[in-house]
């Protein structure tokens, strides 16, 4: 490939950086709070809820994310086909589903990513919460603090410090996992790189894509290193 072609491909990939970052950002935005909820459900003392939550976590962690994306993406279109002509409520509801639409693709990709990552974050949060010694709860209770005060002022800050290393692994994995969205033809860096590879019969576009991921992962690694250092003011 010529220098000019390389510049052109780089430009195309750069445009596709935005959808990649959108998957990354939205997944974090929703999976972290959902992960906290899932962690709370798993620690629920009412056993059936705890078991159901555990089953969800097992499935999310035990099957490939790529498979989950495909399932989530095709579920509604298939349902639409199945309910065609019934004239019922479901048909009405699903009439707007257009699997080729950019917004539909994006929504389904985000749902799949969020469901998957929430399971991983939930396990990290649960591990962090359970690692805080009982004495911290008792000291807070003896000082008359409410349950909410105890959690948000005493427990959570300590949990955050403890889960930064494990979370940083997840977040860096997520950057690379965004490339899986290409299985449903959502255009992001990976899909664009594959198209350019075919276009030019060259591996250079993939190499450029690799550099993109590498730079993002390295920036995140540095960022988390910085956060860990910042939180190191106590042991």
């Amino acid at each position: 490939m010529t220098g000019e072609q390389i510049m052109k491909v780089t430009g195309i990939l750069l445009e596709n950086l935005i959808p990649t970052l959108k998957i990354f950002g939205f997944t974090l935005l929703f999976s972290i709070p959902l992960g906290l909820v899932v962690a709370a459900l798993k620690m629920c003392r009412f056993k059936p809820i705890s078991w159901l939550t555990n089953l969800y976590i097992l499935i999310m962690r035990g099957t490939p994310l790529m498979l989950q994306i495909i399932v989530v993406y095709y579920a509604l279109p298939f349902l639409k086909t199945a309910t065609k002509g019934t004239g019922g409520f479901m048909e009405n509801l699903l009439s707007g589903v257009d699997p080729a639409a950019e917004s539909f693709m994006f929504t389904m990709v985000i749902i799949a990513f969020v469901l998957n990552y929430a399971a991983y974050f939930a396990e990290i949060f649960r591990g962090g919460i359970e690692s805080i010694p009982k004495g911290q709860y008792e000291a807070a209770a003896a000082l008359g603090m409410t349950k909410a005060q105890t959690f948000f002022r005493i427990i959570l800050p300590q949990v955050i410090k403890r889960i930064v290393p494990a979370s940083s692994n997840e977040v860096i994995t997520l950057v690379k996992d965004t490339s899986l969205a290409n299985v449903v033809a959502y255009s992001e860096i990976m899909l664009a790189a594959k198209q350019q590879m075919m276009n030019y019969s060259s591996l250079v576009p993939l190499f450029i894509a690799g550099v993109f991921y590498f730079v993002m992962a390295t920036v995140l690694t540095a960022l988390f290193g910085f956060i860990e250092k910042k939180l190191n003011y106590y042991r």
Binding site: P133, G135, E138, L143, G144, M145, Y233
Partner: protein, 253 residues
């Protein structure tokens, strides 16, 4: 009026009866030591009075406020949550393992509850905290984090933290057991100075010499029963009870 009155308190964990029919009073300004072999129920008794364990039966009154009463079947019934919270604030608790909040500075550890529980003004709470730290000889450590302090210093901070809520009654559960022997002295000194200020205290301890020096009364527990409740002289020197004498003999070597 007693600061603390416990009547016929019983508590079991499943089949294991840990506290049997415990009764004792603590009067204002009194210092009481609770001694006894490991597993005799000393910590459980403290944890019951501090609402960390549920009492099966018995009547507990703190500063005239009823925490538990027996119903007609002799089962303990607790007061409502508001009352239980009020009672909690009347009692300060010092743990064996300090249980300081590691992510907060020494000063913040002490002001946290006054500011967020008692809704005190922050500046006022900090002023009080600095005075307490001064009394503990730790004024220069206000901005340190607990991990940078020695065990003895951490325990003094935790005493200051409990005192910051101006409790009517201070409980200690083996305040020196987690400390190196050379650090126990500084804690015992602090407790002694609190006793001189007529702070009402209940101290679970294995430091017999200290208990006999500082206490107005000593309670000896064994197997979940209060075996003795008397002056240090009664318990340490003139006990007629075989179990008490056997227990004390092990400390006289």
């Amino acid at each position: 009026m007693s600061i603390l009155s416990v009547k016929n308190l019983s508590k079991s964990f499943g089949k294991l009866e840990v506290l049997n029919d415990i009764s004792f009073n603590v009067e204002k300004g009194e210092v009481i030591s609770i001694i006894g072999p490991s597993g005799s129920g000393k910590s459980t008794l403290l944890r019951c009075i501090n609402q960390f364990e549920k009492i099966d039966s018995g009547e507990c009154e703190i500063c005239g406020i009823t925490m538990t009463k027996n119903d007609e079947n002799g089962k303990a019934v607790y007061a409502d949550n508001k009352t239980l919270h009020d009672i909690r604030l009347k009692i300060g608790l010092v743990f064996q393992n300090f249980n300081l909040f590691p992510h907060m500075s020494v000063l913040k550890n002490i002001t946290e509850a006054p500011v967020h529980v008692l809704k005190q003004d922050k500046a006022q709470a900090e002023k009080t905290a600095m005075e307490l730290l001064g009394k503990m000889g730790l004024a220069d450590k206000a901005n340190e984090y607990p991990c940078n302090l020695s065990g003895g210093q951490q325990q003094r901070v935790s005493i200051a933290r409990a005192l910051a809520l101006s409790p009517e009654l201070l409980f200690f559960d083996e305040p020196t057991s987690a400390l190196d022997p050379e650090l126990t002295g500084e804690i015992l000194k602090v407790i002694k100075s609190l006793a001189e200020e007529k702070m009402t205290m209940v101290i679970v301890t294995h430091e017999m010499q200290f208990a006999s020096e500082i206490s107005d009364r000593v309670i000896f527990m064994d197997g979940g029963y209060v075996i003795e409740n008397g002056t240090p002289d009664d318990v340490f020197n003139n006990s007629q009870n075989e179990r008490t004498r056997q227990f004390l003999e092990r400390y006289h070597s």
